[in-house]
Subunit: 415 residues, 2 copies
């Protein structure tokens, strides 16, 4: 059992609009235990639509489409569904009346061209659209089921939940639940993390475990399934425990947890205040922390010393220290963190320096070379160096995470 | 001539991640006159990948893939490309050396697992990846061309522009250009902007003009076409002139221009330095400015006074002023901007205060209510109030833009 989602419209294949319907539907189908094997997007072209529908019906037992059921000439889905099923179209009186009523509710007369929206392939079931004029289509073609919905997200969401999902559940009643659990790690590269769990990520492992990298955060995804959500959770639990045991303090959270959320939680738990002194990250560390609701309880603020004179003026870094070691040095980042902690008056302070690029690199200090430091009352200042490859934005974003991770490790290691 | 884009990865078919690579590639291909007929997304499954590759090579003359070329066991693209071409894999010594060098630059030894990334289908051309360890693949299979790129957007963007696009142009000499020109505005809502240009956005207008809203930036997109880029530009030019005339100083840039880029350009042109004092935006204004390469010439840094005590301590706002008017007031934001300008010593300074939410709102100062201020040497401090609806992130992001827009208007109005 596998599903395919088809998104129809030239505004998608030209790249003018971004398709988000397929993502939304994938998540909803996972919740009822139906795995999605394919998303296909196709332009408003008859031949291409026929090809895509035939391909989907050959390889998937459930095919859901969005778009192409409007009243205009480039709306081809009705015709395509009838052609691949080898049947004619018929006009459904109830649907026509519903479309006329939709116009009447907006005090308008139905344009004649909307009449085409009441046409359906013979043998199909018209599907009521409560949010717009375009009805959907539900039909069996060969051994597969086809559900056609509008492309407008709000109309599609409603039609799926109220009309299509019940029909899917009626046809595929044994479907259980697919549950995805993601373990988020920071501090080690993708390959190195995978080496620690390669027996789990091997093809054919049950439950399936995948690994993904997103801007230096390495995630381990467990895809568990079972007849109920609890059963799926029970399948995932021992694998999660194994992963946590092997990866230890690399793990900072699950699912949508971010490093900044982990840091804010730890600050609250340990009742420690934090300030930031940002060089290369230019405000991004503070920005990430400030995105977390309730951040203000323990995150106080900080100093953006993007310019070297401000490192001296606002943070008290001696100018001869900068002259001797250069800004991008463990000495300077240490003094920035300590100066910030003293001047703002927080329990903890983090600082960043580095070369964000694209210009400004040298042989000794190439683009991507950065330092982060953490100053605290109860331990000597910690400095971490790293050399990133990537764009300016990536260097700033990953260095922000490097700095946040210093706070996380410091607090997480406390009893 | 038609192209198909294949996005590979179970994180896409499960709906965990949203694919944006296909949209980006569709736009780039349109620019060189290549229409995209299909986007296909497929899970990390060998049988399904073989099906998708064979289907694409049957119906498209150019097939570009993203993802599936990492070092892990679920990276199947190398194997799939070889299988559909009916050839074996070989190890490319130059690619292996390049991968080893990428690790050496990060002071790491290449894990044995990454060796697989130097394998290529016999008859294919290894494609250098300057931004990561996964090389791409270029090969002819039957009558079609296949280009395989990484899924990481920054790596893919660079590989497409420098390596894949030249190979496409060599095989498919361009027959015409579709050009999209976007005029970006800030300071007025979507409906109000549309009223000013409704004759241009009417259906059937040549060239087509669309309107999009993205986080308070309203964009007017002109879709022009012609045999050459110059011809398409010539079609767009008079419409762009009309739009600029009607919208006046609402316009801050074109295409991918951002408000922060407009501000950095204006600071450079007028040789004015800028600092920021951030309350509600918590570092986001500084972060946006710091994302612009070369920002450090005139953007000096600033103070994040997320906590009220820091507004007093770091910015010199009198505590009785906060007690009298509340933090979210024109009085306090004015003193923050002026205090920042004096303490950091810049020509201009901006400040923000407000209620980001989701909690902390009151009847008089509801969630979304914000102030931005601009202090300068040559004019009284300007304060702007706004009430946003939206999430915490949206309130912070839009308020950052409100503050940046004050700098833009101040400098743009100068002779």
């Amino acid at each position: 059992m596998k599903a395919e989602l088809i998104s129809i419209g030239s505004e998608l294949t030209t790249g003018r609009n971004l398709d988000t319907n397929a993502q939304w539907l994938s998540r909803r189908l996972a919740e009822i235990g139906i795995p999605v094997g394919f998303h296909t997007t196709v332009a408003d072209d008859l031949t291409d639509n026929l090809d895509v529908f035939r391909t989907a019906l050959r390889r998937a037992q459930l095919v859901l489409t969005t778009g192409g059921i409007g009243p205009t000439l480039d709306d081809l889905t009705r015709e395509v569904a009838a052609t691949v099923a080898g049947v004619d179209l018929f006009e459904d009186a109830a649907s026509l009346e519903h479309i006329q009523q939709m116009f009447a509710r907006r005090n308008r007369v139905m344009p004649e061209r909307n009449r085409v929206q009441a046409q359906f392939p013979v043998g199909s079931e018209p599907v009521r659209n409560e949010k717009g004029t375009a009805p959907g289509i539900w039909m069996k073609i060969g051994e597969s089921f086809l559900g056609c919905m509008p492309g407008v997200p709000s109309e599609m969401f409603h039609m799926f939940e109220t009309q299509i999902k019940p029909r899917i559940l009626a046809q595929f009643p044994t479907s259980g639940v697919i549950l995805e659990r993601k373990i988020n790690t920071f501090g080690m590269g993708e390959s190195a993390v995978e080496e620690k769990v390669s027996d789990l990520t091997a093809r054919g492992h049950v439950p399936e475990v995948g690994i993904t990298a997103s801007d230096a955060v390495i995630g381990l995804r467990i895809f568990a399934n079972g007849p109920t959500r609890d059963a799926a959770l029970a399948q995932a639990a021992p694998i999660e425990a194994t992963i946590r045991e092997r990866l230890g303090e690399l793990v900072f959270g699950i699912d949508d947890d971010t490093l900044q959320l982990a840091v804010i939680r730890l600050l609250n738990r340990h009742r420690k205040s934090l300030s930031v002194a940002e060089g290369v990250t230019g405000g991004m560390v503070a920005h990430l922390l400030a995105t977390v609701p309730g951040a203000s309880s323990w995150f106080r603020g900080g100093l953006i010393a993007y310019d070297d004179t401000l490192k001296v003026q606002l943070l008290g870094v001696p100018s001869d220290l900068i002259a001797m070691h250069g800004t991008v040095s463990p000495e300077v980042v240490t003094r920035m963190a300590e100066g910030c902690r003293a001047r703002v008056g927080t329990d903890l302070a983090i600082a960043t320096v580095g070369v964000a690029g694209p210009d400004g690199g040298s042989e000794q200090k190439p683009v991507g070379m950065v330092y982060a430091a953490l100053a605290s009352a109860d331990a000597p200042t910690v400095v971490q160096q790293f050399s990133w490859t990537g764009t300016r934005h990536e260097v700033q974003s990953r260095t922000s995470k490097l700095a946040l991770n210093l706070v996380r490790l410091h607090l997480q290691r406390k009893p």
